[in-house]
């Protein structure tokens, strides 16, 4: 960031509020629906939901940051796998070494992507598609095209150990990361710069925001967050898969869109992403509780994603805006009419 004097930090929360209601709705459903199928949700359900959100939510957070800046990182599904694989391969002696290695590799990867996107002004979706393939290819090559098991089972057990019935160290890590990003977005200049860049790139540049630096850092962060999620997953299951498929990406996109983020950028933040991620984790846990077959989750997430993407499409957004304009004009004309009639009497 440019040499700006430290300003008194002013807290501003500018995210849409409706994702919270959506989440609440899903909480209600999670407890209301299973009894219909002779099942029941319990504290263990909550624990599971939080466990999954801690991992996949991190990927969503990474993707979400790039969306807020007005870009899109398709490669998060790849860095998710790559981070886990590197950590498993290099962390047999000391899990922290594995963690650092995985993060270092992926963050560097992300920064390079960000650099190309920022300086060469390339469509981030197209570039990160290539990045996804490279990351996936690297993962498979390192892993010899099969899953690699992690010999250190202890770390997984420690991370997964239930604390207070519904929490665990893994979950605390997730909460800490979300909180850190939340504070970053709302308190620091970098966070403001990210939202400004997404909300109006040209205006931000003329106002002096270092747009290129913001973009580069954001892509480094998205890769790093996705890698962190993958590393957590790998340690906790003591396995690193060569190809986890596109589900992490689907989860992430749906979570972000449900969390109030837009594809155009500028809107939303960590709080919304957390709501969206929890919502989807709850949904899939709900299916699990009622013992629905695996494909049901895929079916619902796919449908949900289509619905949400359509809701975020230019056509729908425009129709919303037009309806709002029409409504406000009607209110104006009604107000004029009543004031006319009252002044005439």
């Amino acid at each position: 960031m440019s040499a700006q004097a430290r300003m008194k930090p002013r807290f501003s929360f500018a995210e849409p509020k409706w994702p919270v209601f959506l989440l609440l709705a899903l909480v209600i459903l999670t407890f209301a629906i299973p009894p219909i199928f002779n099942q029941a949700s319990s504290a263990f359900t909550i624990y599971n939901v939080l466990q999954n959100t801690a991992v996949l939510g991190m990927v969503a957070l990474g993707l979400g940051l790039t969306m807020i800046v007005g870009e899109f990182d398709l490669s998060v599904a790849g860095t998710y796998a790559l981070g886990g694989m590197v950590a498993v391969k290099l962390g047999t002696g000391n899990p922290f070494v594995g963690l650092l290695a995985g993060l270092a590799v992926c963050v560097t990867f992300g920064l390079i992507q960000g650099l190309i996107i920022a300086k060469l002004k390339i469509n981030s979706m197209a570039l990160t598609l290539g990045g996804y393939l490279v990351a996936l290819g690297l993962t498979g090559t390192i892993g010899n095209n099969k899953s690699q098991s992690f010999s250190n089972y202890d770390i997984g057990i420690q991370l997964n150990q239930p604390i207070g019935t519904v929490f665990s160290i893994r979950i605390f890590i997730g909460i800490a990361v979300f909180l850190a990003v939340f504070l970053l977005m709302n308190l620091t200049n970098l966070g403001r710069g990210m939202r400004a860049t997404g909300g109006g790139r040209r205006a931000s540049r003329t106002a002096g925001v270092r747009v290129d630096a913001v973009v580069i850092l954001t892509f480094g962060a998205s890769a790093g967050l996705a890698a962190l999620g993958g590393i957590l997953q790998a340690y906790c299951t003591a396995t690193a898969t060569s190809n986890p498929g596109l589900f992490p990406l689907i989860f992430a996109v749906t979570a972000c869109l449900l969390g109030g983020l837009g594809l155009a950028g500028g809107r939303g933040g960590a709080f919304g992403i957390a709501c969206g991620a929890l919502t989807i984790a709850m949904l899939s846990e709900l299916f699990s509780t009622v013992a629905a077959p695996q494909y049901v989750t895929g079916l619902f997430t796919g449908l949900l994603l289509i619905v949400v993407t359509t809701a975020a499409s230019p056509y729908v957004v425009r129709k919303w805006r037009e309806r709002r304009i029409d409504r406000s004009l009607k209110i104006e004309s009604k107000a004029l009419a009543t004031s006319d009639s009252s002044s005439q009497s």
Binding site: L129, T139, T141, R201, L303, S313
Partner: protein, 328 residues
Amino acid sequence: MSVVEDVLPSRFSISGMDARRKITLLVTILFFAILIFATVTTTGFYSVQNFKAIITAAAIVGIIAVGMTYIVISGNLFSLSVGITAAVSASTFIWALRFGLVGAIIIAVVFGAVVIGLQGLLIGFTGANPIIVTIAAGALQEAVAIWITGGVSVYPPENSPSFAFLVSPLFGIPFPVYVFVVAVVLGEVFIKRSRFGRGIYLMGESPRAGRTAGLPITRLTTGAFVVAGVCAAVAGILIGAFNQSGTMTASRTLTIDAISAVLVGGTAVIGGRGSVVRTAIGAIVIATISDLLLLRGYSTPVQLLVLGVIVTVVVILSYLNSERAGRS
């Protein structure tokens, strides 16, 4: 990077443009040099049998890539689930053999056209993001396929008509290659000479100008995706005939290969330019690369890695070469 640069309209200088073209030329020459070197130094490459293998692999991917070309030229980036649709079309074809060979082919083609065409309709009408929509549609197709088939392969029903000819050699060349050539010829003529094709090119160049000129954006987008759907289904039929069954695993790298074929062939990501013939060349190049890697003992991930690097480089070059690229 002064603010003045950003505020004043930026124009690539003439010398700057030439530099970019020079870089592209250099990279292309380098690439082919490496490729030829690799073919010469790989044992078993220069054999009739190997060439047949390459051309057959190129054929299947190529047919899908022909359809993908329409999507890319129309400015809608890519579809990330044509491979899945091909696999599901294969199962559909196998299942539909009870209606006779012709009936099965028609049903499979209609299936592919409808499934991918509907995505195109949604994308064209609402302007929803094509990549996300196609990813979601792919997940949906997979889920539904598993639901219906219970996760097991689909086998031809009793007393099905013979379909072996679809994959057998005809005058020494596998039948799919003929289908590929026909697809390329039809695809190229259609996109270059038809009214619809001209509309696709114009719309891909500038959707806004297209709208002002009265081009039917929704119809054109849907049409491009329908073509992609038909191509995916045809490839699926051939895959199904080859495997004599329908499974989901057949789709693993099809989508990526098809996208790579289009890009490597020189059709730009931004749309408005390119051709089917270029894609055909791209398909052969991609098949050659995969073949080389296989002959040298490298596994799928290495293929992915190499393809990923190639795709990234091609995307970068195509943006560098375009005056339209970049935003403020």
